[in-house]
């Protein structure tokens, strides 16, 4: 049996698949898929179905599906709305799978669940019934639910993150939600640190250690060791506390990757025009710049919140895509990098699947 590594790329104009064998040295590109729709997130589910979420200014939000590795596609948004009296939903922003169900995060922030593989959707209304909801404010990307983090074993638990409302956790299957932002700064709100209103850019956990959460925030990189109840700032040692994506090593929850960007008022791009990924192998206590093979001058790239991922091979590959359409890969945990695609439309998301053929 051979293995194929499939990098799933969502862009401003369609979805693409960039593929290699397990050596991850030579790559080919297929696409565009999804009829060139803007695609915010593109994943491969456990049964091999490709699922992409996005929105089109003419035709609204939808979720695309392909059960034949991208040859044919269908789409549906049945149920993805807030009713006649609610706000309009322009786009799906994030897709996640848990226990055979699909979840979709949308703009304006809300959560939907599908029990039939994406053919129809049900609003998880408890989140928008949270008393803080009238005070949720959009970030630069809109008021978006961009991170869905199911607990790996407790099917009633899940964390989600909203820009700019913060992190929330449910322990009752989505009926009720609690804020999880203690210790996270919100420098753009004067006064004492609020209970909500935080600008999380990306929230993730490693399934082997589900009480450990990490987030890249507008105001720093953070870790929680108690399932989100308290957070500690990991930013010291980084060239900037600002960035969008964050990735956890698939086999080692102590190792994480971020891509520091110049701050929110300083361009939100690679610091000094040098493309660097920063890695910590000690849970954020210290950091190391990884730049071998990445452009080191005039590389004013932006890497957005969904645009970094890792495969799960023995020595994992790390991947990121830029808003200028470059896709970079490392087949050795970030030590060395190569450009595996370029001239794609602006890259909004990167995910990776290892496919057994």
């Amino acid at each position: 049996m051979s293995q194929r590594v499939q990098v799933l790329v969502g862009t401003r104009k369609g979805a693409f698949i960039v593929e290699s064998d397990a050596a991850r040295r030579t790559w080919t590109t297929r696409g565009p898929f999804c009829d060139l729709w803007p695609i915010h997130h593109f994943i491969r589910t456990a049964d091999g179905t490709l699922v992409a979420g996005g929105g089109n200014a003419w035709y609204g939000p939808t979720v695309w599906r392909s059960a034949d590795d991208g040859t044919t596609w269908s789409q549906s948004s049945s149920g993805i709305d807030y009713g006649a009296d609610g706000p309009k939903i322009p786009s799906v922003w994030h897709i996640a799978q848990s226990n055979g169900k699909l979840y979709a995060g949308v703009e304006p922030a809300g959560l939907f669940r599908s029990d039939d593989a994406g053919q129809s959707w049900t609003h998880v209304a408890g989140l928008r019934e949270h008393p803080s909801r009238p005070q949720w404010e959009p970030g630069a990307g809109g008021l978006i639910l961009h991170s869905i983090v199911p607990h790996p074993t407790d099917l009633d638990r899940m964390w989600i993150a909203i820009s700019a409302a913060g992190t929330f956790e449910t322990t009752d299957g989505g009926g009720t939600w609690a804020t999880r932002n203690k210790g996270v700064r919100a420098d753009f709100i004067p006064g004492p640190t609020p209970e909500f209103g935080h600008c999380v850019h990306k929230l993730k956990l490693n399934a082997s250690e589900p009480d450990t959460l990490y987030q890249q925030n507008h105001c720093g990189v953070y870790r929680s060791d108690d399932a989100g109840r308290n957070w500690v700032d990991l930013s010291p040692g980084l060239p900037s506390e600002f960035g969008f994506p964050l990735q956890i090593h698939p086999h080692d929850p102590s190792t994480i990757y971020v891509i520091p960007h110049a701050g929110p008022e300083d361009g939100r791009q690679m610091v000094g025009g040098k493309a660097e990924v920063w890695r910590s192998r000690d849970r954020g206590a210290s950091w190391q710049a990884l730049a071998e093979g990445l452009p080191q001058q005039n590389a004013f790239l932006t890497v957005l919140r969904e645009a970094m991922a890792a495969d799960n091979l023995d020595r994992p590959g790390i991947y990121f895509g830029s808003s200028a359409g470059h896709l970079f890969a490392s087949n050795d945990e970030g030590d060395h990098w190569q450009k595996i695609a370029e001239y794609l439309p602006s890259i909004w998301s990167v995910e990776v699947a290892v496919v057994d053929d």
């Binding site: 009829d35 089109n56 200014a57 003419w58 035709y59 609204g60 939808t62 044919t72 596609w73 269908s74 789409q75 549906s76 948004s77 049945s78 709305d81 807030y82 009713g83 006649a84 609610g86 309009k88």
Partner: protein, 89 residues
């Protein structure tokens, strides 16, 4: 019977895509979209927001006149054009 002209970007969204020109026997514009949705499930969601109302960047012309009202009656032999707005691409 109305003649409905559909844009390429809309028919491409369906596994069994409709032809670019369809004959529909409908009393109103809303009824026409409902019948399109019965034959190609999901088409209503692509053309309409909840309400329902036509999506902001979907333009519909009936016999050459722009029409936003889903209750608008369709005369026998009406020519309907569904056109994505210039904005939005």
């Amino acid at each position: 019977m109305a003649t409905v002209n559909l844009p390429r970007s809309l028919v491409a969204l369906f596994v069994d895509p409709p032809p670019r020109q369809v004959q529909i026997d409908a009393a109103t514009l809303g009824d026409l979209i409902g019948q399109l949705d019965q034959r190609w499930p999901g088409m209503h969601d692509r053309l309409c927001d909840p309400g329902p109302q036509l999506r902001e960047h979907i333009n519909v012309f009936v016999d050459g006149e722009r029409e936003r009202d889903l209750a608008a009656p369709l005369a026998t032999g009406a020519e309907v054009h569904v056109i994505p707005a210039v904005a939005g691409g």
